[in-house]
Amino acid sequence: MPSRGSRLVIPLGLAASAALLSGLYAGLVRAPADAVQGEVQRIMYLHVPTVLVAYLAFFIVFVGSTAYLWTRRERWDILAHASAELGVLFTALTIAAGAIWGKPTWGAWWTWDARLTTTAILLLIYTGYLMLRAAVEDPDRGARYAAVVGILGFLDIPIIHKSVEWWRTLHQPSSLARGAIDPALLFPLLLNMAAFALLYAFLLAQRMELGRLEAELTRRRLEE
């Protein structure tokens, strides 16, 4: 029997595709090129949404992990696991897009800047989370361990951020937060943010359904 979440998959997929297509059109075709940076600035329409979705995903890992330890309901664990995978994916995309932008703009793929470094550490923490899940054989124990790492990792984010910020900063401060962005560029950015949030929701629903089936399969195998 399909679960409640699986019925959401198709509408979410359609909405995400439509939003992504119009977002690409608005960002790559409609929006004017940046006055200073030129065409390469268009990477922002990918880079900013992916990083925001990645942070959202790690926050959802934290929520799912806390709720799992609290209630011991399997679906919270499935949510945290699914969101961690997506968080890692979107963080990797963010770093890749940022590097492609950084090479022509800063003259280097990578710099040891505060935000870049924080993002790279996040990628490592949550990759560790996924590897731990794979390494623990007992599913119940794996869920508990992962939940602890999911909570600790999230608490570590502000400390990591503060420490690397003091350490050094080159990245431009967030234009969004400063309100220093032209409406002609802002609209495509917001559209793309909505599109990537929908893409995240679609993939999350899909991945949770898969997680539910995996858990079901494990249970049936154990019963045999």
Binding site: L69, A135, R141, V148, L152, L155, I159, S163, V164, W166
Partner: protein, 224 residues
């Protein structure tokens, strides 16, 4: 949870280690070796070595910690000792704090022995800076031991524990590494307390957050 219980566990671990000196000797040579290996890797240029010294010292401490921190729970694997420990009156919080205290005292003893080697190979003025260096070492060691002790409990049953433990631990303790290196550098240069203080405060915050959270988290890790 009482201080007596915490101390009883820490004392037991330190006594066992003190009598066998199994890991202590090995890890001391390992830490000294790290200092030497970095000396070879960086070349004989004295100015360059002095510049890199604080970083090398802390990489040495943390790598030694990666090898040493798992010991606290590894010794409990034999003969089901952990189950025995859990049967004693007293809660998991006391077990965590006891193991943590044992680990911190053990690592600090080791670090105290490494400092003279460091001063010798890297030509560092140790005497004047010693109180500041020891304070930084204590705060930094408490930080990586707080997370390390918890992750040691988590990975003790895994087949891939030798790989999983550093994979989980190292990204988490990046803030500790940054802050401890900066603090150590400030004291070595004789830059005064004002420059080192923010880093020491960051270390204290890290210690506070992760000791508190781990205290509760051990409950979910050693459940069976």
């Amino acid at each position: 949870m009482s201080l007596g219980q915490v101390w009883a566990i820490a004392r037991k671990d330190l006594l066992t280690e003190g009598r066998s000196k199994e890991t202590l000797n090995g890890l001391f040579f390992f830490a000294a070796l790290v200092l030497l290996v970095f000396g070879f890797a960086l070349g004989p240029d004295r100015a360059r070595l002095e510049q890199a010294a604080a970083g090398v010292l802390w990489v040495g401490f943390i790598l030694t910690g990666v090898l040493g921190l798992t010991r606290a729970f590894q010794v409990e694997r034999e003969n089901e000792c952990l189950e025995g420990l859990l049967l004693y009156p007293g809660d998991r919080g006391a077990l965590y704090l006891g193991k943590l205290l044992g680990n911190v005292v053990f690592m600090l003893g080791l670090e105290a022995a490494v400092f003279p080697c460091f001063a010798f190979f890297y030509n560092m003025p140790l005497w004047g800076a010693l109180p500041g260096l020891l304070l930084t070492a204590a705060l930094g060691t408490a930080g990586f031991a707080a997370v390390g002790t918890l992750f040691a409990a988590m990975t003790m049953h895994l087949r891939a524990r030798e790989v999983m433990f550093p994979l989980l631990l190292l990204p988490f303790v990046v803030p500790v590494l940054l802050a401890a290196v900066k603090g150590t550098e400030a004291f070595l240069r004789g830059a005064g307390r004002a420059e080192a203080f923010p880093w020491l405060a960051l270390l204290a915050l890290f210690d506070l957050v992760f000791v508190t959270v781990s205290l509760f988290a051990l409950e979910w890790i050693v459940e069976e």
